[in-house]
């Protein structure tokens, strides 16, 4: 009886977490305009999703922004972590603390403060995309720093020394000895940077050009608009994203499971 209760509780929580998104997926394959109205099977939503230039540009823009800001974050965060790791304790303290500000701060406040500084004080134009890219980098780079730092601590320092003793130039030793050892941290930082950027609404809304939308800002506007064709096409989008995430999470964890076994 007790076990039944356990299973039931887990099922209730899972149902709560998945029911809306699964229901939406089912309805995305129909021509109904709101849930609860039963109607026929249709692929119109998917057709709109993949053919509407507005939706296509928005999706491509979202991913381009995520990749650009993640690449900048990885370069800045990794070099920053290596630099801070070998700096005097005061400098490292400074970097650690400043790095923590965007992590604990509310995204609304981060977005607002960047907007005030870059656009109101420095008079930068939102249309240049620079505030947007800086904003997303501020959001992601601390997490790259935080995922690289523990790898640096675990690293075997003598390998770097050995490489230098054997005549390697410092930058060669850095690229061939240090970077490979901290690569798992860099990779997880990169993945995290991508997901943070894709999920962000608050920083985007304060720093984006008026004509540019990411998935988040687009969806929020669409829920208020009256365009049902766009609204239901977004159901198809959330189904596609749900499937991609599920597959990605599954493979990442199968991969991670194998890695652990090998160690």
């Amino acid at each position: 009886m007790k076990r039944m209760g356990y299973v039931l509780w887990l099922l209730i929580v899972l149902l709560f977490l998945y029911m809306p998104i699964l229901m939406l997926s089912v309805y995305s394959f129909t021509d109904s305009e709101s849930m609860g109205i039963i109607s026929g099977f249709s692929l119109d939503n998917y057709r709109t999703l993949f053919t509407s230039p507005e939706l296509r540009d928005m999706i491509i823009g979202t991913f381009a922004l995520a990749i650009v800001s993640a690449v900048i974050s990885v370069i800045l965060g990794t070099s920053g972590a290596i630099g801070a790791f070998y700096s005097k304790s005061g400098t490292k303290m400074f970097a650690d603390s400043a790095n923590q500000i965007p992590v604990v701060n509310a995204d609304v406040v981060t977005g607002f403060s960047i907007c005030i500084f870059l656009i109101v004080v420095l008079n930068m134009k939102k249309e240049t995309f620079i505030p947007l890219i800086i904003g997303h980098t501020v959001l992601s780079v601390p997490f790259v720093y935080l995922s690289v730092m523990p790898k640096l601590k675990q690293m075997d320092e003598s390998l770097y020394e050995a490489a230098l003793d054997m005549g390697a130039k410092p930058h060669a030793a850095l690229m061939k000895v240090i970077i490979p050892q901290i690569a798992p941290g860099i990779l997880s930082g990169f993945v995290m940077a991508i997901t943070l950027s894709l999920d962000d609404y608050f920083i985007t809304t304060y720093t984006k050009p008026a004509t540019f939308d990411t998935i988040s800002t687009y969806v929020v506007n669409a829920t208020k608009g009256a365009q049902t064709e766009i609204k239901t096409a977004l159901w198809a989008l959330s189904t596609v994203i749900f499937v991609i995430i599920t597959i990605a999470v599954f493979f990442m964890n199968v991969g991670a499971g194998k890695e652990k076994k090998n160690v």
Partner: protein, 264 residues
């Protein structure tokens, strides 16, 4: 020492980045919060906040909502995390992934889905604003509560609860006197991950029924009115609350389960 020179300098670009885009913006909003339109020092923005019934009401309501949402998340998540971690459920390491996967799906799309379901169930969702706010935020933040709880509970030493049982404690007493106190660090981490976002995430309310009665959107409304001084003051107030909560809870939180989004 000469051979170490190149590595320390690698940090310089990031230090400059931190000074310019992390520290400077905070100093700028601090300056705006403490000055008026003519650039003179003033505390009127602060007094303005605390004398505006609407602003104070929003702050109180935000804290109240965040408190309820955190409590509901805890009530739903604790048993689930405990069952997964301790009750030898088959394949629990796979199941826990199922519980936290939703956090990787764009939250605006998930709220869209929830809104459709709630509309289908309730007819007009604006009839139940408080209930729907709690459901919406719980739906969004629940995975962030489950993960730290699971991390902490699965690390607990089973021999302690076994020892308590051997000494004659009933299972309820073992739970209350051993397991629950030891899982406090995970509970604190979970609370931090839910409470602060729940106070500021105005998009969920905005999407569900265009409500702006929450701290985050107050910043936005001043911003839209070009009142950067009041907006900055609210940001600073939020910042102070967030950092105070973090400093107080930091020492109790579980190191492994820390970091709002440090999940991967």
């Amino acid at each position: 020492m000469k051979k170490h020179f190149s590595r320390r300098y690698l940090g310089i670009p990031y230090m400059i980045f931190l000074i310019f885009f992390v520290i400077a913006p905070v100093l700028v909003i601090l300056y705006y919060a403490l000055t008026n339109g003519k650039g003179q020092f003033t505390l009127s923005n602060l007094f303005g906040f605390f004398s505006s019934g609407y602003a104070i009401g929003t702050l109180v309501y935000s804290i109240f909502i965040a408190f309820i949402v955190t409590l509901v998340c805890l009530i739903l998540a604790y048993p689930a995390a405990y069952i997964l971690a301790k009750e030898k459920v088959r394949k629990s390491s796979v199941l826990i992934i199922l519980f936290i996967t939703p956090m990787w799906i764009n939250f605006t799309l998930r709220i869209t889905a929830l809104k459709e379901v709630l509309t289908a169930l309730e007819g007009n969702i604006s009839y139940y604003p408080f209930l729907n706010t709690v459901i919406g935020m719980t739906y969004d933040f629940l995975p962030f509560m489950i993960l730290p709880l699971y991390t902490t509970i699965s690390k607990l030493d089973d021999t302690l609860s076994e020892a308590a049982e051997d000494l004659g404690a009933g299972s309820a007493k073992v739970f209350l006197k051993v397991t629950l106190p030891l899982s406090v660090p995970g509970i604190i981490s979970g609370i931090m991950m839910v409470f602060l976002p729940a106070m500021t995430n105005y998009v969920i309310l905005d999407m569900l029924y265009n409500s702006t009665f929450i701290m985050g959107s107050l910043i936005g409304s001043y911003f839209a009115a070009y009142d950067w001084h009041s907006g900055s003051m609210i940001s600073i107030i939020l910042l102070v609350i967030i950092f105070a909560v973090n400093i107080i809870t930091d020492r109790f939180a579980d190191d492994d389960a820390k970091g709002r989004r440090a999940v991967l």
